[in-house]
Amino acid sequence: MKYYARRIAFYAFTLWATISLNFLIPRLMPGDPADIMLAKMARNGEVAPGVEKTIRLLLGADTDQSMWDQYVAYWGNILRGDLGVSVTKFPTPVTELIGAALPWSIGLLGLATIISFVLGVGIGAIVGWRRGTWVDHLIPASTLLQSLPYFWVALVLVYVMSVNNSWFPRIGGYDVFTFDGPELTWAFVGSVVYHGFLPALVVVISSFGGWLLGMRNMMVSTLSEDYVTTAEAKGLRTSRIFMTYAVRNAALPSIAGFGIALAFVVAGAIIMEQVFSYPGLGKLMITAVQGNDFALMQGLFLVITITVLVATFLMDVVYGFIDPRTRSNG
């Protein structure tokens, strides 16, 4: 239990750090981001005083409010769910924009990550198990794959698959011409899957190599451990030795490091959504950057971080199950 308590405490602390970073960064940069933002908004329409107050809180103001007071008020806003108003999609509140984009990203990313993990760890285990075969020579070749910038791979894929041969759609999360908006029909789901295929493929290609390599190295190390020799000497079936003695131990670092690897998947996915105009958080983030939409940016940073923390925590739970050493007291 101590293990889970510690992990939760850690994530809580990270959350606090994230929110504080959001608070600090605009105030540390030169210039007055709040003014810039407000000026922009004013161009698009009347700015309600409540909104102005929020913006100043989010980005820093030259009022005589002390840093600490601003900080407290900032927290108040966050807890109330007020993340400000977007400038690029004025006057939609940030939370609404994020809420609309979130399911797309989680769906695409979630699925792609799971596939990538399973594929990478699975193939890595098999390659590591049969060491000294021709498969080992593929490893250096896979480093080439690993070093390809994922969005560049996306561009090439898009070029090959949809511009030249229109096998797969180039843009969008679903067919915007046929459907007005998300609906609960099989046709819609089919359209979603169809549109999600290429982006998911690129995410998988760019990230499974890391897991593959890590798992393969761990398998090679684990296979020289004493307990594996003992298992062979005991005359156990090969499948049991593979799964319960080798894989179960070799996979631990991959699971422990899942959160870190996830950061890379997130990075890849952000850019993926740009290339494919996929309506997820990543695309929203890029829109925010290109429009200097600070409030939206902060909100997105917060939500993305929270998502990563949740996913990492889930993996920690899995880790706690598999490795009994975490369950002993201290």
Binding site: Y227, T229, L236, R240, Y245, I322, S328
Partner: protein, 308 residues
């Protein structure tokens, strides 16, 4: 360059008389193991050995002499780059059949392992899988080799095995990291006994433990041997220990057995200069002070000369 006569290891007539009346359980003839590195290393050179039913055979020698490699070779556990280049290993089963161990493969080999010959490895620290419980590890031996047993029967047998070696059966659900070194070693021995093997190979089973625990475990092994009647190949560098517990002792040097005899004969009347040197390098509680201090190679003690 061999220091033994072409006829094999040095021995005495007492030895031949001793083994005449015994029934062999494991016969190894002309076993050689090479390490396929560059240049090739001949770890075990043409070793022949007979193990008799119920006896304790000690295999002594310094680090790197090949005793562990020999044991692994006989047991078909060699790991790359080691390769068994020649040899005939026959297991004489209780029922009367002879099993050609070298020719075994696939399922037959898996069935043979642990059932007829089991092993206790050196450094039990890492011999237990850290992520599954003791129960699971004792259990999977039973599940694999005795598929007829029910879960309850397996549980009962596992508890029985732990009691046999002096470990509280309540420890069945513990994990490796929750056990002390001595306990882990006992669990390993329990695991080795699970299928009532006829031969148990023990590779430095107590070297990593403190002397008190060591004594306890050795006593346990002796007792179990009395009770269950299996033969033991006891591998260690600790010759005085072997003098105490074994029936016969084989001394290995650089991949060859240089002397083999009953424990008593070795103690009283060691023939080979290396054996004598080995005996002489353990400090004695009695006798002249500093009696074991090495006088160095210049005294001409090294049997192989100066190039070793």
């Amino acid at each position: 360059m061999s220091t033994t006569t072409d006829a094999g290891p040095v021995t005495t007539p007492e030895h031949d008389a001793y083994v005449a009346g015994l029934e062999p359980v494991l016969t190894a003839r002309h076993v050689s193991v090479d390490y396929e590195v560059t240049p090739v290393v001949h770890a075990v050179k043409d070793v022949s050995l007979t193990l008799h039913r119920g006896e304790i055979l000690g295999l002594a020698g310094e680090s790197g002499c090949g005793k562990t490699t020999l044991a692994y070779g006989i047991n078909r556990l060699l790991k790359a780059p080691a390769v068994l280049t020649s040899g005939q290993v026959t297991f004489h089963d209780k029922g009367g059949t002879d099993i050609d161990v070298v020719a075994l493969g696939g399922d037959a080999l898996r069935a043979f392992r642990w059932d007829k010959v089991s092993m206790v490895f050196q450094g039990a620290m890492n011999s237990l899988n850290p992520v599954i419980s003791v129960r699971a590890q004792l259990g999977d031996v039973l599940k694999t080799h005795r598929p007829g047993m029910t879960k309850a029967e397996r549980s009962a047998r596992s508890a029985e095995l732990l009691e046999l070696v002096g470990v509280d059966p309540g420890r069945l659900d513990s994990y490796a990291h929750e056990l002390s070194g001595g306990m882990r070693q006992r669990v390993m021995i329990a695991m080795a006994l699970a299928l009532n093997p006829q031969v148990m190979i023990m590779d430095e089973p107590t070297t990593a433990l403190d002397v008190v625990v060591q004594r306890g475990i050795l006593r346990e092994i002796m007792r179990l041997r009395e009770q269950l009647g299996f033969a033991v190949v006891f591998i260690t560098h600790d010759l005085p220990l072997l003098l105490e517990i074994s029936d016969r002792i084989a001394v290995m040097l650089r991949g060859e057995i240089v002397e083999i005899n009953t424990a008593r004969s070795i103690f009283e009347n060691a023939q080979h200069p290396y054996t004598r040197r080995l005996l002489g390098s353990f400090p004695s509680l009695t006798g002249d002070r500093g009696a074991f201090v090495r006088t160095g190679e210049a005294a001409g003690e090294h049997p192989e000369g100066r190039h070793a």
